[in-house]
């Protein structure tokens, strides 16, 4: 572990802890060669959600190259990325940033780093829960799980979402009963094997 000085703005620089092994870890886990980035900014210029991130996509790559693990895993960027695939489509060095983001938030979840955007991983966990139970998506369960666990909705948000839910139910766009596949054992086995590599 060493300290690296990073310019945050023109007038402010911060001493950040650098982990020289982090870049290698990220490259090995993701299979993405981040060393190729030469900071052309193409990723950030085309990113539809860069405006909502604390570090821009090109900055995340630089932080990874420098081994500044805490800054990367503590960023909002790794959770805000919408996986729209614009950056990897345009990157002159074919750096697969969306896949890199997957690797980064998987490391953050595994190491128990508190997510800067807690509602995002709560959504994804709520999304896979019905798949685990029924083999297919069951939107009502997913939404209820999200609302209960994220506890971010104000009364007004809840009312908006409830009325949207009712409107969708009226049009039979939401199924009341869960879907259920026959070979649920196969799905359980897939989850068990895939998740056995994850550490809590």
């Amino acid at each position: 572990m060493q300290l690296t000085s990073v310019s945050v703005t023109k007038n402010e620089s911060r001493q950040l802890k650098s982990d020289p092994l982090f870049r290698e870890e990220v490259e090995a886990l993701s299979g993405v060669n981040i060393s190729r980035c030469y900071q052309c900014f193409t990723c950030t210029l085309g990113c539809p959600v860069a405006y909502a991130m604390d570090y821009r996509p090109n900055q995340i790559i630089r932080l990874c190259q420098l081994g500044l693990k805490d800054a990367v895993l503590g960023s909002s960027t790794i959770w805000i990325c919408a996986s729209c695939e614009s950056c990897v489509t345009r990157c002159p060095n074919e750096i697969d940033i969306p896949h890199l983001m997957d690797t980064l938030h998987q490391i953050a979840l595994r190491e128990g780093v508190p997510p800067k955007e807690p509602a995002v991983p709560i959504f994804h966990r709520a999304f896979v829960e019905p798949i685990r139970r029924f083999g297919r998506q069951y939107e009502i369960m997913m939404t209820v799980l999200f609302i209960l666990k994220a506890r971010k909705f104000s009364f007004k948000d809840l009312r908006t979402n409830a009325s949207l839910g009712l409107n969708m139910m009226k049009r039979r766009k939401l199924k009341l009963t869960p879907p259920l596949i026959k070979n649920l054992a196969a799905i359980e086995e897939i989850f068990e094997k895939a998740e056995s590599g994850e550490q809590k």
Partner: protein, 282 residues
């Protein structure tokens, strides 16, 4: 033409109208669909987010069953399309990947068959002449913005039937139905996808920009091929002047004169009835 058909979860819930219009249109065009028996969810937005093995094992099980059917797989949802194709591509390229996938799903999978999107099959394999030959009610005067979003065209290493920056497949299809398509800049912009519950305001900004872009270009409706985009665009518009969001298959069905298309249009939160009536289409 015969395909193993992967409907995807939304075809039976939030995008039921996309599912039934796709099936009706395929029947009309002589595209035979054999539903993949006991298919499961592909993991969509969240499998890849949480776990690299889950993201391939979930689509992998469907692909392995389809391989037993001995057919290429046809997908209508853009998100399922990317997930299935991504697993198929990796399996095709790497024996190690196939080995691990087989362990995960407890079935062999050799990636012998292709994964195709309905839009690709209709426009590039069947051809637009076959489409225009079946048009009974041309969509004359209807001004449409074709919206591709992300996963029909990106990443081009995995999904590659059209140009990733300026695709035209859907535009040409809509023209062959007699509609007028507008040229606009939002074709491949992102709608915010799965951030809709966790960061709703981001999705509202992105969909707002898209709807404004389509309207400024003169469009009276936007046309999509992704249930996630549809849901984000259709269900969260506010105000009086709302832009109808239609699936390309619904418009094909309408132009082909398929009966009971109104049962599809009734499902939309932004009703397209006034627009379609104003052009004498319904």
């Amino acid at each position: 033409m015969k395909y193993a058909f992967y409907p995807g979860c939304t075809q039976e819930s939030t995008a039921e109208e996309f599912g039934s219009s796709s099936k009706a249109v395929c029947q009309k065009l002589g595209i035979e669909l054999k539903e993949i028996p006991d298919w499961n969810c592909c993991g969509a937005s969240s499998g890849h987010f949480l776990n690299d093995e889950l993201t391939h094992a979930l689509p992998g099980r469907n692909l392995a069953i389809a391989e037993k059917q001995g057919l290429d797989t046809l997908v209508v949802c853009a998100a399922c399309y990317l997930r299935l194709r991504s697993t198929q591509r990796e399996a095709k390229e790497s024996p190690e990947f196939r080995k691990r996938l087989a362990e995960l799903i407890d079935m062999p999978y050799e990636a012998k068959y292709e994964v195709k999107h309905l839009l690709d099959v209709v426009v590039n394999d069947l051809g637009l002449e076959e489409v225009s030959n079946r048009v009974k009610k041309p969509l004359k005067g209807l001004k449409l913005a074709a919206y591709y979003g992300c996963y029909l065209v990106r990443p081009p290493k995995i999904v590659a039937f059209d140009d990733p920056e300026n695709p035209t497949t859907m535009d040409r299809l809509l023209e062959s139905l007699g509609a007028e398509v507008v040229d606009w800049g939002g074709k491949v912009d992102c709608c915010g996808g799965s951030l809709v519950l966790s960061r709703t305001e981001i999705v509202l900004k992105l969909t707002g920009d898209l709807i404004k872009g389509a309207r400024d270009a003169g469009a009276e409706a936007m046309v999509v091929a992704c249930p996630m985009c549809h849901s984000n665009l259709d269900t969260r518009q506010s105000g009086k002047d709302r832009l109808p969001i239609l699936y390309f298959t619904e418009l094909m069905g309408l132009a082909f004169g398929i009966p009971k298309t109104d049962s599809w249009f009734k499902k939309h939160l932004v009703s397209p009835f006034n627009l379609l009536k104003s052009h004498d289409l319904i």
